[in-house]
Symmetry: C2
Subunit: 335 residues, 2 copies
């Protein structure tokens, strides 16, 4: 197998998806890394990569890295507010991009991404880690196999501990908001599980009781209407107490024409005409391996650029709905 | 204790709340019963009451019953589309009313009820049976005791088997819709648990895949914004498979500033700074006994007329939102 070269920008948040994925990809070589900005570091990333046998070149300026290394794929894990810019630079060079979600923090950025991606439709996905967790992967496979018939109603939940957060969470400009940051996972699940188009959204969010964390919202809910009369809701919070047995309480429930399926507490339950039972968990690929297979043409991949853009749009319109207290309708057809 | 006299109109649906409640009220005597209309019967009700030692007089016309018996309270369990009319007749006579929910099927009816009740503010409540189920009663008592701090986010779920239904479910005029019929319980829980005013609602409902049951919706979701930035959602469905272990899968979850509490599968879990644990269930009063205590002045009662009207309004505005695909705002202050 030919060597696959990667470059990585930044070491924020979910660097673990990339590092964990690399362990199972012996033919992948990290050629270059670059901080996401002047105030950002990559020391942790650099140390971790060396420990794993990689010897990345360190670039102060990521554009120079892209031009010199011409990597087979770029991972963008830098400042949230520069995701879109960095994706655009990669698209312009024909480089596939795996980017932290959301890939854009504003509708303007999203429009530029969409236009550029249509010109250079490289493989493009984001760090939608929930798809690659066993319970949600198992639930998806069961839904796609038709065990609950046609999905009619979806409920998703993300409940996190608040804990200590870096300063960039406390401003909309650098955080983007809890709906795009936390809610994007729920929106992605809804899009992925329903197989439908988003038609409208009503959402609400609140920064009350946020421990003084600036504009950071700590509770939010979204209600989507999708094509085919499918309804989907998501509830998001950072209200999970410090004493909770785990960081998150993530759930998804899909009620369909033949049954109801639910992922909760790391397990999956199905109710159908035969009764209720727990499903054996299926082993998903790693997020990185799945994307690499798509880049190399050896697999279809569980994510694609059109989905990535559609889910980002849904997050940004939900945030707009919550900001403005009104229903926002989706006017553009998905690619 | 003085004898308490009751009259009952109709025997639809939740007659059991009244019959079960009577067993624990030895001083209560059912003086008269009347069918809810020409096409309705009270044979089952009559037989059950005789079996319990009551000897109600049977009236073809309920107004005559109210005038002759002048009962201490009236139970309205007849055709849904006549709830409001029957409550109005009772209000006009100063008779306390316990009515099947929703107490009105249209906003016009509701306005008439509200006006009349303000003139004659008799004890007035509806068959909000979920409040009187141990898990939800336990959850409410814990929330009111402050164990989760201030509620910020509420999720409610009603999931039913569809099963065989009488014809009056299949037309909006006689059924009212799934949001008022099933959803009223969820709306009532939200109102009761949050202690907040409704500010706006966005809802969606669908009659697709309803087994040919006319206009009856089998899936619906609602998203409420309440005062204080509290968000509340409810998911309603008749998609629970025939093989499910029970008729319903009713749930409520409240995330607050100090913890998260949830009622699910007949049990209640609390997560706070000390960890996660199951709460011992508390024994609620019967719905009827609670209302009788209010009528007799021996207790405050867990329901009141202002709540009953506010919850009915919220259901009808949610249904309007779903019909019209837009956010509906609550303009009236609650009494």
């Amino acid at each position: 197998m030919e060597t696959l070269t990667l470059c990585i920008i930044g070491e924020r948040g979910h660097t673990n998806y990339v590092l964990d994925g690399l362990k199972d990809l012996p033919h992948a070589r990290v050629a270059g890394i670059s901080p996401g900005g002047a105030a950002e570091g990559v020391e942790f990333l650099n140390a971790a990569l060396h420990c794993m046998g990689h010897e990345p070149r360190l670039y102060a300026e990521y554009r120079q890295m892209l031009d010199r290394e011409r990597p087979d794929l770029l991972c963008v894990i830098g400042p949230f507010e520069r995701h879109a810019e960095m994706c655009l630079e990669a698209f312009a060079r024909g480089i596939p991009v795996l980017c932290e979600k959301p890939v854009a923090l504003t509708l303007d950025e999203l429009a530029r991404l969409r236009d550029a991606w249509q010109v250079n439709p490289v493989p493009f996905a984001s760090l939608m880690g929930m798809r690659f967790e066993s319970p949600f992967y198992t639930l998806f496979q069961a839904v796609k196999a038709g065990v609950i018939g046609d999905p009619r109603l979806i409920q998703a939940q993300k409940s996190y501990r608040l804990g200590a957060r870096p300063d960039y969470y406390f401003r909309r400009e650098t955080y983007g908001g809890t709906i795009p940051w936390v809610g994007s996972h729920a929106v992605d699940l809804i899009h992925w599980l329903s197989g439908q188009r988003f038609e409208s959204v009503f959402a609400t969010h609140s920064a009350q009781n946020n421990a003084g964390y600036g504009t950071m919202e700590v509770s939010a809910q979204m209600q989507f209407v999708l094509s085919g009369g499918v309804a989907a809701s998501a509830s998001l919070d950072y209200l999970r107490p410090s004493g909770a047995p785990s960081h998150g309480d993530d759930r998804a429930r899909v009620a369909g024409t033949l049954g109801v399926i639910e992922a909760r507490a790391g397990r999956v339950w199905l109710i159908d005409a035969q009764g209720e039972r727990e499903l054996a968990l299926r082993e998903p690929p790693s997020l990185l391996a799945d994307f690499v297979a798509q880049v190399e043409g050896s697999g279809e991949g569980m994510q694609d650029g059109a989905q990535t853009l559609a889910v980002t749009e849904a997050c940004l319109l939900a945030r707009q709905s919550a900001d403005e207290g009104r229903v926002v309708r989706f006017v553009q057809e998905e690619a």
